[in-house]
Symmetry: C2
Subunit: 311 residues, 2 copies
């Protein structure tokens, strides 16, 4: 493709402002061409629209769109964009349901555009080296502990608690996107206990047991009620000692080594990947993390817990 990829950002919420817009601005492969937001916002003097519909109808020149809207409305936007011949970057999770994602994957094949179902945590600094190290090890067990304060990280995000929102699996799916990437064998849900606040539709905590095909047990402890120190940690016991991946994949500690700490480059790396996929004419749609979440809901044992309210 000659010249930069002209990209539009759809949905100007927290994640767009915090991550997408800066990553696009810093990558010369992209040129921000337009935005769409139902709140009437925009970016600088660029064309701004209320909806993707209006943007497509306007004839503004756009090669690709980044969808940063809540997952409940992602499918219609993605299907529209693919039908209009645009490359599509999907924030995680790639849809509200697995069926939608399967349909989008078929549609992008027919349309010949790139679809990128992004999992930003896979681009945290420690994740690639962790995957390489584990590839040659025998896994004995693994533990995933993701405990954070929802009031700090998702203030006022009502959609996250509604049917189709993932509740604590919104951060939890990040952990699963790392675990499915670094562990050498596929694993499946053996037991799922979901804690649902009495006044909400989605879980505020979850206790999951997985098993990999070689027999290793993997435990996962998700909790959105954590005040004080926050945890986004994975540890893996192997025949050669214990690997620790902390702070959401950014700090890797291998047995007998000092922690490796590196700068956060998740969204810059995601956009580098998106540009490379477009350049190569290929797509990346891995549903494994989302399938594990759907399975946790499908076979989940639901316990009603204390109502959740924000101050």
């Amino acid at each position: 493709m000659a010249g930069p990829i002209r990209i539009a950002v759809i949905g100007l919420g927290k994640i767009a402002h915090d991550q997408h817009l800066p990553a696009i601005a810093a990558n010369p492969a992209f040129q921000l061409a337009a935005t769409a937001s139902t709140h009437g916002e925009g970016v600088g003097g660029l064309p701004r629209f209320a909806t993707l519909d209006e943007m497509l109808a306007s004839g503004v020149a756009v090669d690709a769109v980044a969808l940063c809207t809540p997952p409940q409305v992602r499918y219609q936007l993605a299907a529209q964009a693919i039908a209009a011949g645009k490359h599509v970057f999907l924030e995680k999770p790639p849809g509200a349901t697995l069926g939608e994602v399967a349909i989008l994957d078929a549609q992008r094949q027919a349309a010949g555009v790139t679809l990128f179902a992004s999992w930003h945590s896979r681009y945290a600094a420690g994740v690639g080296p962790a995957r390489d190290w584990l590839a040659e090890r025998e896994i004995r067990s693994a533990s995933i502990v993701w405990r954070e304060d929802v009031r700090v990280w998702h203030p006022g995000q009502a959609w996250i608690w509604e049917p189709g929102g993932l509740g604590v699996f919104d951060p939890g799916i990040n952990a699963l996107s790392i675990a499915t990437y670094i562990l050498p064998h596929p694993f499946f849900v053996e037991r799922s206990v979901l804690s649902i606040p009495a006044n909400r539709a989605a879980p505020i905590a979850a206790d999951l047991s997985f098993r990999d095909v070689a027999g290793a047990a993997i435990r996962m402890d998700l909790d959105w009620r954590q005040t004080g120190p926050q945890s986004w940690d994975i540890s893996v016991d192997t025949d050669r000692g214990t690997l620790r991946l902390e702070k959401g994949g950014t700090v890797l500690t291998l047995p007998g080594e000092a922690p490796r700490i590196a700068e956060d480059r998740e969204y810059p790396e995601l956009y580098a990947r998106f540009a490379a996929l477009i350049d190569a004419g290929t797509s990346d749609v891995d549903i494994a993390p989302m399938r594990l979440v759907a399975d946790a809901f499908l076979c989940g044992d639901r316990r009603i817990v204390e109502a959740f309210s924000e101050p």
Copy 2:
């Protein structure tokens, strides 16, 4: 393969006695070689075992197994059987989770055996002709009404109400196996309302809205509290009139025609298909019906309803 396929039936519950054993007995491509049942039952003078493990250890000559156990334990049995080089017939649903089925599908490829994820309702007499007729029509809308009395059809089946059991989706997945087969476009869950008895983990009723990729609305009404007349009906409005498929797919009525009624041949057809797959060295693992159920759980709006108890 020279001679009949030597098959073992694992799990001698209601479905094995009502359907599998008679279908196997009536098909000369198969020879029943053994059974396994934790209740100590058996069939005639044939080798009987408590578990698949014991059967495999015994050295009894078996080419294939039919797994008729509850879905919660199907994965371990299927993985064991595939690892032992046996062809596997899975009752519906093919597992407790989508992740399990994806793993089994990969394992059967590696082992070079046949895996058949069976959907018996697809072999009801009216289903094939309905699919053929709809292939050339424009679909305007469709309606699925599956209302039956759980006390009549699933007496005392406690597992069906437990986490991992599908509740009213146990029959409902039959409707979805038909709908995904006869409708010409893929469809996805738009809205899911699940009614959960106060004392159970699984839904007793569900109200679902799907949409196909061409925009047609599909409604689904599942209810296990139906006394009196029972319904297992699908109707499809098209540009050429309304198709009606009643009694679980056995009675097909095309516009302006009299109802077509034919003998129930579901399980005989399933075993004919299993023999053909083994003969051709291929597999049939379609997860679309189960993916829709997982999606209905994932984005479901849960309403607590009256407790369910059996007399």
